[in-house]
């Protein structure tokens, strides 16, 4: 029995399980990076992290978590520092297996908005912007989104497509010129969402213990189907939580 854990810890642990060994992952700072660091320590020792600041293969120091993608902490014990543009070009060439990112606003096709609420040039709320999110979503072989599950975040249509999910649905990415990639899963504080292969519409694929599909629907701003079989996720194990908490003793991202 692993004892109590909070939403951020649940999110980081479930997200970390999505990463396989001997792969490359483009990880954004915050929970995605924490989850990648946890995976590397626990079940994916040969996982190679690629970080936006132009960093390949770092080993994040427990208690020294970076708050940006391009400070010294983010590149600690890195294997290569190719520069920002060239780090992204490795993804464009197809060498990055998984893109691991958060999202302020997300729609039924997995498109993400981190740019603005309201009109772009006259925004009600101006958000920080894409950073490398658009590039990660456009260029990685597979995208996994990690986010808190709130109704205001899950909207029918994002105000602005900052990062492409499945865009307008099946075939839309290819039609736009994107050669591969697309969102495979959305890991949230309530469960794991996937996309129906034909329509590329978001659907429930797994729920966390104690969560029902209806709960997820109640917290989603659009109509949501469920996969033929909806799994229930394994709760965070004691060793997962221990490793995770050791990574962020200051509770900088675990809250």
């Amino acid at each position: 029995m692993s004892g109590p854990f909070n939403a951020s810890e649940l999110l980081a642990v479930i997200a970390s399980r999505q990463l396989r060994d001997d792969t490359t992952v483009f990880a954004g700072v915050g929970v995605p990076l924490l989850a990648a660091a946890l995976a590397k320590q626990r079940h994916a020792p040969r996982l190679t992290m690629v970080i936006e600041g132009g960093i390949i293969g770092p080993e994040i120091a427990p208690g020294r978590l970076p708050i940006s993608t391009n400070e010294m902490r983010a590149g600690r014990r890195a294997q290569m520092l190719p520069g920002i543009t060239d780090a992204f070009l490795f993804a464009q060439r197809g060498f990055v297996d998984v893109g691991f990112m958060g999202g302020a606003q997300i729609d039924r096709y997995g498109n993400i908005n981190t740019t603005a609420i309201g009109d772009y040039w006259k925004p009600k709320v101006r958000l920080p912007g894409t950073g490398g999110a658009n590039d990660i979503a456009s260029l990685c072989r597979e995208i996994i989104i990690v986010t808190a599950h709130e109704k205001r975040r899950f909207v029918p249509r994002v105000d602005f497509v900052t990062s492409p999910g499945w865009l307008g649905g099946a075939g839309a990415r290819r039609a736009a010129g994107l050669l591969f990639g697309g969102v495979s899963r959305v890991v949230t504080t309530l469960g794991i969402l996937g996309f129906e292969p034909e329509s590329r519409r978001m659907r429930v694929e797994a729920v966390h213990p104690g969560v029902t599909v209806q709960t997820i629907r109640d917290n989603t701003g659009f109509e949501l189907d469920a996969a033929p079989v909806v799994e229930t996720t394994e709760p965070p194990a004691a060793d997962e939580l221990a490793l995770l908490r050791a990574l962020d003793p200051e509770r900088r991202f675990l809250g």
Partner: protein, 286 residues
């Protein structure tokens, strides 16, 4: 700094709070320039300073705020939502390719990023067909800044520059820009450059002016030499949280306008802080 004219497009090296040419930005503020366009991949406090000082009318960037712990920049929101400053957003790679296209001397570079997103329309990015396969690609337009402001680890009297650790986009910016102004943590003899020619990332013939400025990025970081002073950021944001956007003017008066020299500025930042951040940098990279 006299080389910067009102209305110029400036490219600023480094990234977010890493290797920002803070001493040059401070000079820019002291010269009271107006109508500038600031182009930087990830924009941090230096962008807030230029907004609050009324120096910039447009910021070309992929992201703007200080860092995760401080959430969305209140200053950015204030000036952008009010329409005072235009924020032109590009994906991080696209902005990097804009500088690279400029560095290569071509008007555009083909890319597979931004396609299908609403970012294409923001910057007016056009698509192009590959003449061999007919595939659609984004034609990312070159950016040729009027002036580049860069801070590097070492440079010799010919302007040959060496950078440790993170290269960011400085080398491409230097080749793309018409005028290149550089500050360096250390001035090295030409012999030192010739001993390690494969460490040079910017050739001297690109550099128009060079100044020796130790701690030239502070309170931002310089790889291997000093970590960013997040306490300095926290004090700055706390003042904004308490007094609103006007607090930036007080900060600028205190840090940019009042101290006559960079040495005075560093004293104000605190010698103990500088020493602490230098020690932390050695712990991380040593």
């Amino acid at each position: 700094m006299a080389r910067v004219r009102d209305g110029d497009t400036l490219a600023v090296g480094g990234c977010l709070f890493s290797r920002t040419p803070m001493a040059l930005v401070r000079e820019l503020l002291r010269q009271r320039r107006r109508g500038l366009t600031l182009a930087r991949n990830l924009t941090c406090t230096e962008g807030e300073f230029l907004m609050a000082a009324g120096a910039v009318e447009r910021i070309v960037t992929a992201w703007m705020s200080i860092g995760l712990p401080w959430g969305v920049s209140k200053i950015m929101r204030h000036y952008v939502e009010s329409g005072a400053v235009a924020l032109e957003e590009w994906s991080h790679l696209a902005l990097g390719l804009r500088f690279r296209a400029g560095a290569m001397g071509v008007p555009f570079l083909p890319a597979l990023t931004m396609l299908g997103s609403d970012l294409m329309a923001v910057g007016g990015t056009k698509t192009i067909q590959d003449p061999y396969t007919g595939e659609t690609l984004a034609a990312v337009p070159a950016l040729f800044p009027d002036v580049a402001l860069l801070h590097v680890h070492r440079a010799d009297r010919f302007g040959n520059c060496q950078i440790d650790g993170y290269r960011h986009m400085d080398a491409d910016i230097a080749s793309a820009a018409a005028t290149v102004l550089v500050t360096a943590e250390e001035l090295i003899p030409e012999e030192e450059t010739r001993r390690h020619p494969d460490r040079t990332v910017i050739p001297g013939f690109l550099v128009d002016a060079l100044v020796h400025v130790p701690f030239g990025s502070f309170p931002h970081e310089c790889y291997g030499l000093y970590e960013a002073d997040v306490d300095h950021f926290a004090e700055y944001t706390a003042a904004i949280d308490a007094a609103g956007p006007g607090a930036v003017a007080d900060y600028l008066e205190r840090y940019a306008y009042a101290p006559p020299t960079w040495a005075d500025y560093l004293d104000l930042c605190g010698g103990e802080r500088l020493a602490r951040q230098a020690r932390r940098a050695r712990e991380l990279t040593g």
